[in-house]
Symmetry: C2
Subunit: 246 residues, 2 copies
C-alpha cells in the first residue's frame, strides 16, 4: 500500500505565481500587481508526489489546499464497509483538498496516478488574504461552487445513464479538459486503469473494457491499452445523449 508522501520534501521550492503559466486556470485572471503580490504570499511551497503515493488520505488533518502544477491525481472515498469509489480525476491547474475544509480533516484520499507536483496553499493564509483581496475571495467561492456543479453532473451520470453513455460522457469530458490545457482533444493517454474508470463511473472494469471495445469496433475511437484516439466525437456525443443505434 503506498504511503502518504513525507510532508517535508527535498524538492520544496519557493513558488512564484506571477510567472506560473497555470495561473489562468488556478487563479483569478485579472490582478493588479499589488494584488498579485498578496497572492504570492499564498503559496508556501511546492511538493512532489510520486506515482502511487498519496497527497493526503482520509482522516489526515487538513491544513492546506493544493494546486496541481504537474501530473494527475485521483480522489477516492471509502465507506465504512470498505467500498471504494473514485470521486474524481484531477488535472493540471485544478485545486484539490476542498473536502477538508468542513471538518478540518480530509474525507477522501488523493493519490497520484503519475509523478505529480503541487503548490501548497495553507488554508488559514488563504482565508486571510481572501478577506483582503475581494477578487480572490470571489474566485475561490466560484471554484468551490464549480466543484459542487461538477458533482451534480456526476450524480446525473451515475443516476440516470447506461454504461456506454457514461463512458462516452467520460471520454468527452477528458477530451475537453485536455484541450483546455493545450493538448490534443482527439489523442491522449488514459492515466488511470480500467478499474479506476469503472469505479468512477459506477461500473465494473469488464464493462468498461467491453464498452471501449464496442466503441472501437463501431469506429468511434481507436484504443490501444492506455493510448486513446477519438475518431468520431459526434458519434460519442450521440451515444452520451442516448441517441445511439444499438
Amino acid at each position: 500500500m503506498p504511503e502518504t508522501a513525507s510532508p517535508l520534501n527535498a524538492s520544496q521550492l519557493r513558488a512564484a505565481c506571477s510567472t506560473c503559466n497555470l495561473r489562468e486556470l488556478c487563479l483569478p485572471l485579472q490582478l493588479s500587481s499589488s494584488e498579485m503580490a498578496a497572492v504570492e504570499k499564498l503559496v508556501a511551497t511546492r511538493r512532489k508526489v510520486h506515482r502511487g503515493e498519496a497527497l493526503y488520505r482520509a482522516g489526515d488533518d487538513f491544513d492546506s489546499l493544493y494546486a496541481l502544477r504537474l501530473g494527475f491525481l485521483k480522489s477516492t472515498v471509502t465507506s465504512t464497509d470498505g467500498r471504494e469509489q473514485v470521486t474524481g480525476f484531477h488535472m493540471t491547474g485544478e485545486l484539490v483538498g476542498l473536502d477538508g475544509i468542513s471538518t478540518q480533516k480530509h474525507h477522501c484520499d488523493a493519490v497520484a496516478l503519475e509523478d505529480t507536483e503541487v503548490c501548497v496553499i495553507p488554508y488559514e493564509r488563504l482565508e486571510h488574504i481572501a478577506s483582503e483581496v475581494p477578487v480572490l475571495q470571489t474566485h475561490f467561492h466560484k471554484v468551490m461552487s464549480r466543484e459542487i456543479v461538477r458533482e451534480h453532473g456526476v450524480m446525473l451520470l451515475l443516476g440516470s445513464m447506461h454504461a456506454e453513455e457514461r463512458l462516452a460522457a467520460f471520454l468527452l469530458n477528458l477530451s475537453q479538459r485536455f484541450e483546455a490545457r493545450g493538448y490534443s482533444r482527439t489523442e491522449f493517454v488514459l492515466r488511470m486503469t480500467r478499474a479506476e474508470i469503472g469505479s468512477f463511473l459506477g461500473l465494473k472494469l469488464e464493462t468498461v473494457s467491453r464498452a471501449l471495445s464496442r466503441f472501437a469496433h463501431d469506429g468511434l475511437i481507436e484504443v490501444n491499452q492506455k493510448r486513446l484516439r477519438i475518431t468520431d466525437p459526434d458519434g460519442l456525443r450521440a451515444i452520451m445523449s442516448g441517441q445511439a443505434a444499438r
Copy 2:
C-alpha cells in the same frame, strides 16, 4: 408545470437572525453582538414558495442564497437530452443555491415539496460581510465544503451500492436529519414521491416500492404511503453495509 414563484411576494418580512431558532444550523454558533448585528444585515427578506413551485430554476440569474426556514425542497438537474436527476432534498436550516455562484446562473432547479419559507441572502452582501467577519467567512466555507463531502457520499452510494443498500442508507440519513431538528428519528413523513426517491437513488420507482415492501415484510420498517416508521434501525444499518441476509 409549476412556475417560479414570483420574486416580489406579499409575505416578505424583515428577517431577524438573532431571534431565529435555526441559527445553530444555518449560521455560526458563537457571534458577538456586534458580529450578529452585521449578520442581521445579511438577510434582506423572506420569501414563501408554495408546494410545487420553484425557488429558482436552472438558467435563472443567481444573486442570492437561501436559508430554509420552514418546509422541504428538492434540487434537480436536467441533462440536455431531458433526463432529470434529483441531486438532493433540503430540510429546515439548510442553505441552498450554492450551485449558482460559479457562473452567476443557477445550474439546477429547486422546487418546494411542501409550502416553504426561506430567508433571502443576497450573495454580494454575504461576500462583503464575510470579508469583515472572519467567523462568518470560515463558516460559509465549511458549509460549501460540507456540501462537497455530502455529494461524495451520494457518489459512493450511486456508484457502488445495490438498490436495498441505497434505500436503507437514504432512510437512515433522513432519520438522522429529522432527529437533528428535534423530530422523531423513528417516525416521519416522506415529503417526496417514490419516483423522486428513485431519481435521487438512481432507481426506478417500482424498485423503491418493492424495496420498501421488502423492508416492511422483514420487520425493519412500517410503511403506509408517505408515513414511515423505522422499527429496526440496526437492521437497516446492516443492509446498508451489505451484510444483509438475502
